[in-house]
Subunit: 202 residues, 2 copies
DNA sequence: TGGGTATGAATGAACG
DNA sequence: CGTTCATTCATACCCA
């Protein structure tokens, strides 16, 4: 094959690194493909892209695969966040925050916007996309209890993660999801700081 | 210290600083939340925390998000190190070092402790938690091989598609149905950048 | 003022 | 696919 033992500049971050380290060229080409509409390339596409990008440094099909997955996901998260921030801000002025409890010091069950609120919002902002997986209500609250027979914590399926991107960076925010038992029914901002929750594996 | 009286101490490190610089108060509040069990705060939580911490200096949601991510991860790695040291020490007396190469000067592939070793260890030290993400083997090998013995180096999903799906990602586990033929043999790498691929579901 | 450490930010890889 | 983890990059702060 190609003399891929020697590294094209940029493809080496850490010498023995196990993780792919894309070169500038590779990234810009990938972004170019993305900007051309490629989102979930087929296997053949992946292979072709891969062999092309090999000209700029070591790369494998799986790297391309992951790159598209990540890029797509993060792009989506970014937009979702923006949407949410906007909606939140909008409703904050008009009504009250949608995604935040009315009072910061209180433990409260999840607040779902009134159908009417959102309808009105969407009427006025027809172009505004709601976050992709935005849900008016959790698919089934029953599931919450199935998951832990304890407290109406934030519904299992409500979890939702998004990323906020402010200019340069990006941010993720998670709508309460848990796999470990801590933070199950977190008394948010508990006023008893001495209270320590057992954390199983977190 | 703070020549800029406008700024809450610490919120500005370097004047044109690109990166968030938490104040003491912000940090201690974040740590307080963490100690109360918050690990991966939901969107609402992040927003609340953020707006609270704004009282002590500039901060954005993404800063809070990253803070929890990093703090959790670094806590985890710290504990892992401690556990490792302990286990290592234990086995050093009884057996031989588990997690360290036999010789310091040699590069060697990862060594995984025998199941039996760990089992025995855990029998004798039931209270000892293994590092949260301690794994007998790296994250995905099992999964990769699980699919079939062929082609271990490819991510499961991609591999999956390699095997049976040439279309877009929508057809996941079903048996080889191409949803649409539009990109079967795409004129890949269009040298005319104006050409936009339009995929049904991207 | 250069190395060393703590930590904010980013992203490749992978899980459920 | 959304979420989560591990690792790395980048930078602020420290110290002699």
């Amino acid at each position: 094959m190609d003399s891929d033992d020697m590294d094209v500049a940029g493809s080496v971050g850490a010498p023995g690194s196990s993780r792919w380290n894309p070169t500038k060229e590779q990234i810009s080409m990938l972004e170019s493909f993305y900007s051309q509409g490629i989102r979930t390339p087929s296997t053949e596409m992946i292979e072709q892209i891969t062999s092309r990008l090999k000209a700029y440094g070591h790369i494998e099909g799986k790297n391309v695969f992951y790159w598209f997955q990540n890029h797509k996901a993060r792009q989506r998260q970014k937009q979702k966040q923006e949407s949410m921030a906007y909606i939140n801000n909008y409703l904050h002025k008009v009504h009250q925050p949608v995604f935040a409890p009315p009072c910061a010091n209180v433990v409260c069950s999840p607040y779902y916007p009134q159908q009417s609120e959102v309808m009105r919002f969407r009427q006025q902002h027809p172009r505004m996309l709601l976050p992709a997986n935005f849900k008016m209500r959790p698919r089934s609250e029953a599931r919450t209890y199935a998951f832990n027979g304890y407290e109406p914590a934030v519904p299992y399926e409500y979890h939702n993660r998004l990323m906020m991107n402010k200019g340069d960076g990006r941010t993720l925010v998670t709508i309460n999801h848990k796999r470990c038992s801590d933070q199950e029914t977190l008394p948010l901002f508990p006023l008893h700081p001495n209270r320590i929750f057992r954390r199983s594996t977190c």
